[in-house]
Symmetry: C2
Subunit: 516 residues, 2 copies
């Protein structure tokens, strides 16, 4: 992929505009646009185990097959690529899927309208995006209710201002107050104008994917979109082993424009996959390879991400559970399988089944985020704000999770072994029984030495108590309200804004009001 | 170390008694006595970096030196071992400390009075012990107040019943309603009689360490204690680079009885060590080696643990902070340094600065526990119940943290690659678009397949709401109250119990009531 910056950057928010925008975004100016890890990914799947899983995935692809439903064109494309088609069942002769996947790039740059926000997806880079898909919100009054377009805008604004999050995401919540046929237009527009971070596109119909592409052409320029990635979109499998025409249709639109697609088996293990880690790994690999192979068959060189969303199921109640060991093992395993396939990897996040931002929510989120980071995941959807197994976007949790994300760069940058890092002079200067607070090394380094949470309360009990014993979720709601009050939109060329609104108006008029 | 079981086990709670005891402890009967990891420890300190740190530690030991204060005997022992002594400053010629450390065993078994509870410390094993040291509790009414002996007993009872915790610990809270001179007797007795898990000894004076040894002889038999480890005790350095006579005195008592000592630099980085990871690593290694070397000089072959307690400091307020990246890096680094020294490693836990069991508490605890586990830490003090930077033992958090600990065995047992684990037949049987709930593989495996939290609420919002919207800390207080109501003491030989009480009575009479 070309990695040039947008040609018309001075008109598009680059340069002075970008600096102004960063100031408007408060401490967002401190954020790096993405994270580059200096530590090796954790590897708990042995090389022998990897071969077993890869072999089982090939068996699945060749003998069991994958359904590509209600999309005759997809079947034609796959037949031409060498697959065996039996009604809608597609079988990939051994080795074919992996061979088709080989034209996928190992990494890609997703451009933001502010070039300082563009992200590299793949390699040892890590990009955090917010929660995706919830029909409900838990709002600033701690009320749980259906999400609206106003919530969507506010969540995009917060995501823009939160330095831990690199990507504006996609369906940060479902604005159910707008018809399904039209809401994608306002959602894409909100990402394009209320933020200058990169964004995701609509996948609920091919025409809506096309709208996303057209609106991106207006924002970035037609030439730029023709030669650069400006959209990454989420293509979920209907696990087990099924792709439907909606997802395939959106995939084809994006692939034909060489926009990135995140091919994600979505698995509640035990229900949608075998009740075992190795079985889930083989199925995830087979599904991901089938989708990536299809994308490459549609348009070789299409940027893809190997996605895996895996949750365990309570085998007693059928409820999805998060922050548990088995999905962590699936995550570590899939990360290695993706590295071997030579494509970027998406998984993890800050997942929880809790109904409120309590200790359960934080334990489960942290025990999802830790393996996400240690596995070297490249693209992390749901990295902040996810609640109730994805049913709810929680304003407080968005802020709390995003605060946790800001520590990841300090964790993955390795151990500084420079002379200054070794601090032998400080040890000599201070010596036994003394404290280091006044040493010249401390004075020179203390401002940048240690990561500091902006949400943790580290005061004494007495101070915390005198200030009303405010727990962290309540502090986060207050913080979110303050941030929204201080929000300033990143500047945009008025002519572009007008063109976007005109496109939306035209489409709104053409489209019926309906909820499918 | 000999690894034989207690000779008089049938009289001491082994065999039938142990089974009865396990039943009395409820689901404790399901617990393995410790965890054995099947995955490689995470390694973020390069081999080259390791050599740099080890060299700097030798420089510190040889050129800067370590203070051994107010203990002339300790200075004599170290002089005889080859150290250079300058007043109380002890310098170890390069290589000497490491050489002295070489007589320490690579692992040891700490025996419990119930042999089924004995733990292996070292190698790829992991032992979880509860919080240690808090003068305050947050109790079942969510009230924060000074701790009492009654709290101590209740926390020991809960720890006995919680299957995630393998070790009864030591000063699980400070019973401030008893004189300092006498409280250790009741504390040791509580561990010995209310639980049958292994325990730690008193370290606040040599005579109190001796009391612990004498009481252990009564419980285990004199011969058994002479030949087996039945106590592991915490010997903290006064970092930087200082040992005081209290800790040295306790260390000598335990070492002379070949009971295990956990040699722990206690470092708030930035105040008690340089404000850098590599500087803190070198200092921790030097301090730990000096303490381990001293223990070996006192009695070669004494079982030791290389301990590290490291927190970062907010360089803005001076407050200790937890769950942050820099202590995680110190932990990973120290774990590797301990492996190279060939001794077991202690660090980590479920640490937090939060004042209540809220999201902050859980994020920080999880982001301490995750590196603790992934580094392959052998002995984990503070693994449950720690609050407010160690000032408070929280009943609710003890239960919540311990629930999280129960998932660790499932995380570190690797990926099952047996035929059953691969589940290819389940994939064939089910196929595209079907669910796996009814497959024969699922039916055969669902009961043991996935870890399940006993504290998480995974129900729907509607159910959770109709049940009163109870957040996790409140659920935990209820659980703790229920457990205490159901508590049954593990059986003990009445003659032994009588002998213990007689020893305590005699000592109580002999000791003055004072608070130092």
């Amino acid at each position: 992929m070309t990695e040039q910056l947008p040609a018309r950057k001075s008109r598009r928010g680059g340069g002075r505009d970008a600096r102004r925008s960063a100031r408007a975004g408060g401490d967002a100016s401190l954020a790096k646009p993405f994270i580059t890890s200096q530590i090796a990914p954790v590897d708990i799947l042995s090389d022998e185990g990897t071969k077993i899983i890869e072999n089982n995935a090939e068996t699945l692809l060749a003998e069991i097959g994958i359904d590509f439903r209600d999309d005759p064109e997809a079947l034609d494309i796959l037949r031409n690529a060498g697959c065996e088609i039996d009604h809608e069942r597609v079988r990939f002769p051994r080795g074919l899927a992996r061979q088709l996947c080989s034209t996928a790039p190992s990494h890609y740059r997703q451009n933001a309208r502010n070039p300082a926000r563009s992200v590299e997806v793949g390699g040892n880079n890590m990009v955090f995006a917010p929660v995706y898909g919830p029909p409900f919100v838990r709002d600033l009054n701690n009320e749980r209710r259906y999400a609206t377009m106003e919530d969507f805008r506010n969540l995009v604004k917060l995501t823009y201002m939160l330095p831990g999050i690199h990507h504006s995401g996609g369906t940060i919540c479902e604005p159910v107050d707008l018809p399904v046929t039209k809401r994608h237009l306002e959602m894409v527009y909100a990402h394009q104008t209320l933020s200058d971070k990169p964004y995701m596109g609509s996948v609920t119909a091919p025409s809506r994917a096309q709208d996303t592409v057209e609106m991106s052409k207006i924002l970035f320029g037609e030439d730029f979109v023709a030669n650069n990635v400006v959209i990454s979109s989420l293509i979920n499998a209907n696990s087990p082993m099924t792709w439907d025409d909606t997802m395939l249709g959106a995939l084809k639109v994006y692939a034909r424009h060489k926009q990135a697609v995140i091919i994600s088996p979505f698995i509640l293990a035990g229900a949608m996959s075998p009740v075992s880690v190795a079985g889930t790994l083989a199925q995830t690999l087979a599904e991901a390879m089938s989708g990536i192979a299809f994308a490459q068959a549609v348009n070789p060189g299409t940027p893809v991400v190997f996605g895996s969303f895996a949750s365990s199921m309570s085998m007693q109640t059928g409820a999805p559970t998060f922050g548990t060991p088995e999905p962590a093992k699936v995550l570590y395993g899939c990360a290695k399988l993706a590295r071997r396939l030579g494509v970027p990897f998406r998984s993890g996040g800050s997942l929880t089944a809790s109904k409120t931002a309590d200790a359960q929510a934080a334990y489960e989120s942290a025990h999802t985020l830790a393996p996400t980071v240690m596995a070297g995941t490249n693209f992390v959807l749901h990295s902040a704000g996810w609640m109730e197994g994805g049913l709810v976007a929680d304003f407080a949790k968005l802020v709390l999770d995003a605060d946790q994300l800001t520590m990841v760069p300090n964790l993955v940058d390795g151990i500084d072994l420079s002379e200054n890092g070794q601090a032998v002079d400080a040890l000599r200067e201070t010596g036994p029984g003394q404290h280091f607070l006044g040493s010249s090394h401390t004075q020179a380094n203390f401002q940048t030495a240690f990561w500091r949470s902006s949400m943790a309360d580290n005061t004494t009990y007495e101070q915390w108590s005198s200030e009303g014993e405010v727990a962290s979720a309540e502090r986060a709601r207050k913080r979110a309200a303050d941030m929204l009050a201080a929000y300033q939109a990143p500047p945009i060329d008025p002519a572009i804004d007008e063109a976007l609104r005109a496109y939306i108006d035209t489409r709104m008029e053409a489209l019926p009001d309906s909820d499918y």
